[in-house]
């Protein structure tokens, strides 16, 4: 069994996580709608911002702690002695999280955007911006999660570490989604993809290095 199938099996068995993320996403959107009085005229202009914040928080909360849940003590040593690379493990973990947690959120984003008074074209642009930006969100969530692996109160710290790094992603994402309705796919989309690629490319080796240091510290 490969590490990826092990990770997929774990995310499925420790159910909760993806359901939790989806319910949080829906609840966050509902609370915002209630707070804004439910008027589409008020909600429509700020829907992209709300959905971006909802996605960021859902992903950070659902995936940041996943190292702790799936790494029993001694696992890293056995991983090292089985000859597998930590980078490969980090990538397997990231893929498993993307498939089981992020994909359902992205699917849910479109109907939520419509419910918030977006036109079909605008909802598509918004969803597309979330798709392009989500790898960056996941990358920082996993990186912050690995860095706080040995902290008992990791959850809050993960959010504190990741949020500042996500500012560029958020800015490009929102400007891409706002321009999409009129101009279609635009340059901000490329910038967003670039930010995501750089984040993933930096996070995977960084996570591997952190895991290595964590293992050597015992």
């Amino acid at each position: 069994m490969s590490l990826l199938s092990r990770e997929l099996l774990l995310t499925r068995r420790l159910a909760g996580s993806w359901v939790f993320a989806l319910v949080f996403f829906a609840l966050f959107a509902s609370i915002c709608a209630i707070a804004l009085g439910g008027s589409r005229a008020v909600m429509a202009p700020i829907a992209p911002a709300l959905l971006w914040i909802a996605l960021i928080l859902s992903v950070l909360l659902a995936t940041g702690g996943s190292w702790q849940a799936s790494l029993p003590d001694g696992y890293l040593e056995q991983l090292r002695l089985s000859g597998r690379s930590f980078a490969g493990f980090a990538l397997s973990k990231a893929l498993a999280m993307a498939l089981t947690i992020i994909v359902p959120l992205l699917i849910a984003a479109f109907p939520v955007a419509i419910a918030f008074g977006q036109s079909a074209q605008a909802a598509l642009g918004l969803t597309l911006s979330l798709v392009l930006g989500s790898p960056a969100i996941l990358a920082y969530a996993l990186l912050a999660g690995a860095a706080t692996l040995r902290l008992s109160q990791g959850g809050m710290v993960i959010i504190l570490i990741s949020l500042p790094f996500l500012v560029p992603t958020l800015m490009f994402g929102l400007s891409f989604s706002q321009a999409y309705e009129r101009y279609g796919f635009n340059a901000d989309g490329l910038a967003l993809m670039g930010v995501s690629l750089i984040s993933v490319a930096a996070a995977i080796p960084a996570v591997a290095a952190i895991l290595q240091a964590t293992m050597e510290d015992g």
Partner: protein
């Protein structure tokens, strides 16, 4: 037991070398001047009081702990190889996930499914293989961890307190497996705080308390 390794082990020459190593814990040197080699057929039993550094010696030999000074070398057919090619480690923390079954965990770690047949019958793992790790008792879980070690098919076994939580029958089976491993060209290093004289026959004893 008929391991595929039996043949492989005989043909290979390998060597694990600790050269004048010092081990630090929390910035304080707890052990220094440690030198030893493990070659095919070698059996070392490390002992000493609690906290003397037995586990650290094993983690050092597994290439997981970096020595403060000195060096650790893994060598096969006169070439340097990564530790993962030669060594398996049974430590206190077994790394088995409570939510997975032993069969699922073994699929990740074992070289092939044939390894199930190579496991000591006394471990009774066939009956446990589809139960989640969290439902196993301490002894059963220990047996699953030992099974992974045997199944990972490495020439050098490092075992940290392997007898704890095991019943008499499983201890016998484990020691028989170790003896078999050594006779077929493997090497082993066991660490326990107490050396049971009856079953440690053939091992060279390394008392860390005395060495200090």
């Amino acid at each position: 037991m008929q391991f595929k390794r039996q043949k492989k082990g005989c043909n290979l020459t390998y060597k694990l070398t600790l050269d004048n190593c010092a081990i630090a814990r929390g910035g304080r040197i707890i052990l220094s001047g440690l030198s030893m080699t493990l070659k095919p057929g070698d059996f070392i039993w490390v002992t000493g009081e609690n906290g003397v550094g037995k586990s650290s010696v094993l983690r050092l030999a597994a290439g997981i702990l970096r020595p403060e000074t000195g060096s650790v070398g893994f060598n096969q057919d006169s070439e340097d190889v990564p530790a993962s090619q030669l060594v398996s480690l049974l430590s206190h923390e077994d790394g088995l996930h409570p939510a997975l079954t032993s069969a699922e965990e073994m699929q990740v770690w074992m070289q092939s499914d044939d390894m199930w047949d190579a496991l000591p019958a006394a471990f009774q793992l066939q009956q446990l293989r589809d139960r989640p790790i969290k439902t196993l008792s301490a002894g059963q879980r220990r047996r699953a961890a030992i099974a992974r070690q045997i199944g990972s098919d490495k020439p050098i076994w490092l075992l940290d307190e392997p007898l704890s939580a095991l019943d008499a029958e499983a201890r016998e089976a484990l020691m028989a497996a170790v003896t078999n491993h050594i006779n077929s060209g493997g090497a082993a290093m066991i660490a326990t705080h107490h050396v049971p004289s009856r079953i440690s026959a053939g091992a060279s004893i390394l008392n860390l308390s005395a060495a200090r």
